[in-house]
């Protein structure tokens, strides 16, 4: 189904610019179909022209990122809940 897609891991550069937490091992709950998955395994289109990460089950766009020269925009409408790991210290 996702023939042109890479893994979410391939978007870790731009995700790393936007988020402090390590995003590829964070988990999303899809706002459209409820599927839960590691961000690192979501089908990703890193240059679409912006970056898009889709749900691996239903295909809905979960995360969209557009990066301008001095600002970036992050759309997380497709994510109901994002769960991130924290250092326990």
């Amino acid at each position: 189904m996702h023939d042109a897609a890479l893994d979410g891991n391939a978007a870790s550069g731009i995700l790393g610019e936007m988020f402090v937490a390590e995003m590829t091992v964070a988990t999303t709950t899809c706002a459209t179909c409820g599927a839960v998955a590691l961000v690192g395994r979501l089908p990703a289109y890193p240059r679409a022209p912006g970056a898009v990460l889709r749900c691996g089950a239903g295909g809905a766009a979960q995360i969209r990122i557009v990066r301008g020269p001095a600002r970036a925009w992050v759309d997380l409408r497709g994510v109901q809940v994002l769960e991130v790991g924290l250092d326990s210290s």
């Binding site: 023939d3 042109a4 897609a5 890479l6 893994d7 979410g8 891991n9 391939a10 870790s12 550069g13 790393g16 610019e17 390590e22 590829t24 091992v25 590691l38 961000v39 690192g40 395994r41």
Partner: protein, 240 residues
């Protein structure tokens, strides 16, 4: 995460079309085995191109090593394999990707399945395993088209010991005297070489997208938990 300046310390030909670059990276924070970097090249007129490359060196190595396979009509790989030389500089960002890493936290067996240039991040894991003298059993299944495509051949021969095994399989010509496997990495090959699901191995599969999808599907069909099968797809052809 900002762009770091990297200076080429050494270029090492691996095959007719592949080169390893050893880089001195200012302010390199260290990395985990399996991670990659984004490399940015800028031309005189300001035009820039970016590609991702897996780090081949083990965590703790003094220099960051990337192995680049030249793709015909590629935009970046021909430059990195035929033009760049010691003393030249490029920018890189990273390390990135916490999903496709092996850290040696436990002694679960590890299956590494690499297609073509997909062996690069797996090599970082093998080198890390060797550097730690780690007790977890680790197996590499490495699929290439022909013998001349094999990366790190001598080193892979040296890394084989009781805790580490390497199986190479050629999908095209098998030269006279070839004692390795011939053919695709399919369910039969994996059921012979990967540990059974009952041993709960960790699997890492990397290479061109069709290869990764076929191998990951086969591992899951053999009963491995999808959560234990980590993948890194390099795209339809595997590079650029």
């Amino acid at each position: 995460m900002r762009w770091l300046v990297a200076t080429v310390a050494e270029t090492i030909p691996e095959t007719r079309v592949a080169v390893s670059l050893r880089l001195d990276v200012l302010d390199w924070p260290g990395h985990r085995a399996g991670q990659h970097v984004d490399v940015k090249l800028t031309a005189e007129d300001g035009y820039s191109a970016q590609r991702s490359y897996s780090v081949a060196s083990r965590p703790g190595a003094e220099q960051v090593e990337l192995t680049v396979v030249r793709i015909d009509n590629g935009e970046v790989s021909p430059y990195l394999t035929t033009v760049i030389e010691a003393g030249d500089q490029l920018e890189l960002r990273g390390p990135i990707g916490g999903y496709f890493v092996w850290e040696g936290d436990d002694t679960r067996p590890v299956v590494l399945v690499g297609g073509g240039s997909g062996v690069v991040p797996l090599m970082a894991m093998l080198r890390h395993h060797a550097g730690l003298d780690h007790p977890a059993p680790m197996r590499l299944i490495y699929s290439v088209r022909t013998r001349s495509d094999i990366l790190y051949r001598d080193e892979l021969d040296r890394l084989v010991n009781q805790h580490r095994s390497v199986t190479m399989t050629l999908t095209r010509e098998a030269p006279v005297g070839w004692s390795g496997h011939v053919g695709r990495v399919d369910r039969d090959v994996l059921s012979q070489l990967a540990w059974p699901p009952s041993e709960k191995p960790r699997s890492y599969v990397c290479g061109p997208t069709p290869f990764v999808e076929a191998v990951a599907d086969a591992l899951v069909a053999l009963g491995h938990d999808p959560a234990d099968v980590r993948t890194e797809r390099f795209g339809p052809t595997g590079g650029g």
